[in-house]
Amino acid sequence: MILKQISVFVENRYGAIRDITKILADAGINIRALSVADTTDFGVVRMIVDKRKPALKALRENGMTVKETDVIALVSDDRPGSLYKALCLLAENEILVEYSYGFVSPMGDDAIIILKCDDMQKALSCLTESGFKLLTAEDVKF
């Protein structure tokens, strides 16, 4: 239940993220979650979209530098302390979280936490064995 995230390389310049959203808008693609990692000179835009393959095609055709990355989309109750439990589990199993970002699911009261860990397979089995719910590519197509 690994989810594919789209990562795009952007230089630090005016309108860089706007350009990406324009390409996706024109292609009729919905961005479900978005996060931007920045350094002084460049950034990496990370996104979960509803239609991944058409999104990749549109971005590449417009000259964007794109890569797919495996992430986990953890479904967590939208209340205090629920993310803590999941992160305890990862820490106890010596799994590093490289980055994370979240959004509130429009489907219900859940929060969705995107996690990128150093050992994705291990993270995946720990979380599923302990009964955490993870989103699939199908789930983000709503």
């Binding site: 990562s7 390389f9 230089e11 350094t39 460049f42 000259g63 530098t65 890569k67 990128k116």
Partner: protein
């Protein structure tokens, strides 16, 4: 191995014979320009020099230098040694600073140009059964027409493709099946990139070798071109004031460029003292065109930096070898008091993974301090979601540049294919300091 030669008699002439020939030719030239070119007569008279004072090639140091400015001052035809009636061709080099430099050729000069370019192509194994694709610009620039002349002199089917329209260039490469190409080394990489992007394996083309010049390039870039295009890449050297391409050429040993010494006499001088430097030492390249009729220049200062190599080449040619010109005195940037050549940055980048061989240097002045920024293109394959890995590429380039140049540069990673591609000479330096100094 046996080496290919277009004119074995000239190219392997014993040194003593060559020196004798050079002496005869220099004496005749001096006499001719003293009589025909008022500019030189004046210079000789100022120095109290008579043509008879020049008895052999050893006397060359007594003669005055010619500078680019002298050509500009005598624009357009003031230094021609023949009446216009005998001139059959005019070329000019782009004048980015001031007037164009105009050069002329008689019928014999064109034959000479064809000969030295034929030697150049022949040294790479080109024969009359080959097909030549010339992608230098045709026009006032000498590259296109010079390459064309050499290719036709050898007897090759010659394609005057000229520059531009990479897609059409590749179609010609695929359909006309040329076996050798002439273009700038930076354009060769653009072609390689186009082939890769469009899934055209270089092996499907018929190219065996290429002759690259008009801008200084590094050994690393040679490796890159050879590997990506699957050809032997030869360096060629020339400048319009001397004749155009064909002044010096590489043989199959790819170890230095043989100077066509029977026509062009080479000296290497210290640009400060103007004294000759010993073989094996870098300095400014100076040429004397001993046999040219229309524009025979005496001790022309090229502002190119090179070195006469010591010892004989294993190919059997007796012509002295010029080490691959490493830059131009006027390409040289002085950044925080340190001499910097774009070719140094190129050699750093060529040795690194994850970045494309396209770059741009931006020099600015902040306060009283020069600031060098190097824009470096990330490759598609090297892009990763992990910011740490991208930052380590930047850090690695920064460290390598620092260790080669001795000064620190700010390295900025830019998107793949975002640095401008050049069809002719690449413009790698943007010096913003010039615009603010008065």
């Amino acid at each position: 191995m046996s080496y290919h030669m277009y004119n074995i008699e000239a190219e392997t002439m014993p040194r003593e014979e060559l020196i004798k020939l050079q002496s005869e030719r220099l004496c005749a030239m001096v006499k001719r320009i003293y009589e025909k070119v008022p500019f030189y007569k004046e210079k000789f008279d100022e120095l109290g020099l008579k043509p008879e004072d020049i008895r052999s090639i050893d006397d060359i140091a007594k003669l005055p230098f010619t500078n680019k400015q002298d050509l500009r001052d005598n624009y357009p035809f003031g230094l021609f040694a023949v009446p216009m009636d005998e001139v059959v061709r005019i070329h000019a080099s782009s004048g980015t600073t001031g007037k164009q430099t105009v050069v002329g050729y008689t019928r014999n000069d064109l034959a000479l140009w064809g000969e030295v370019m034929a030697r150049t192509l022949g040294a790479g194994g080109v024969t009359s059964s080959d097909i030549g694709h010339i992608s230098y610009g045709y026009g006032l620039f000498t590259g296109g027409m010079g390459g064309n002349l050499g290719s036709e002199t050898v007897g090759c089917a010659t394609i005057p493709a000229s520059t531009g329209n990479t897609r059409r260039q590749v179609t010609i490469l695929q359909d006309f099946k040329p076996t050798f190409i002439l273009m700038t080394p930076s354009y060769a990489l653009t072609i390689a990139e186009y082939l890769e992007q469009n899934g055209i394996p270089a092996e499907t083309l018929s190219l065996k070798c290429g002759f690259f010049g008009a801008e200084p390039w590094t050994e690393e870039m040679r490796g890159e071109i050879q590997q990506r295009l699957g050809i032997k890449a030869y360096d060629i050297y020339g400048l319009s004031e001397v004749i155009g391409p064909g002044v010096a050429y590489e043989c199959e040993c790819q170890n230095g460029l043989h100077v066509n010494e029977d026509h062009f006499y080479i000296e290497i001088i210290d640009p400060e003292t103007l004294q000759p430097v010993p073989d094996g030492t870098e300095g400014e390249i100076v040429f004397t065109c001993m046999t040219k009729e229309a524009l025979p220049l005496l001790r022309y200062r090229t502002h190119d930096i090179g070195m006469r190599m010591q010892g004989a080449c294993s190919c059997g040619r007796t012509f002295v070898r010029l080490a691959k010109p490493s830059g131009r005195t006027d390409d040289m940037l002085i950044i925080r008091g340190v001499n910097v050549f774009p070719s140094q940055i190129e050699s750093v980048l060529m040795n690194m993974e994850g970045i494309a061989p396209f770059f741009q240097m931006i020099v600015e002045r902040e306060g009283n301090l020069d600031k060098l920024t190097v824009l470096v293109e990330l490759t598609e394959e090297a892009f990763t979601d992990e910011v740490r890995k991208l930052e380590s590429i930047t850090k690695c380039v920064t460290e390598n540049i620092h260790s080669v140049l001795g000064i620190s540069a700010k390295v900025k990673l830019v998107e793949p294919r975002s640095i401008e591609r050049f069809e002719g000479k690449a413009k790698r330096v943007i010096d913003k300091r010039k615009q603010i100094s008065f």
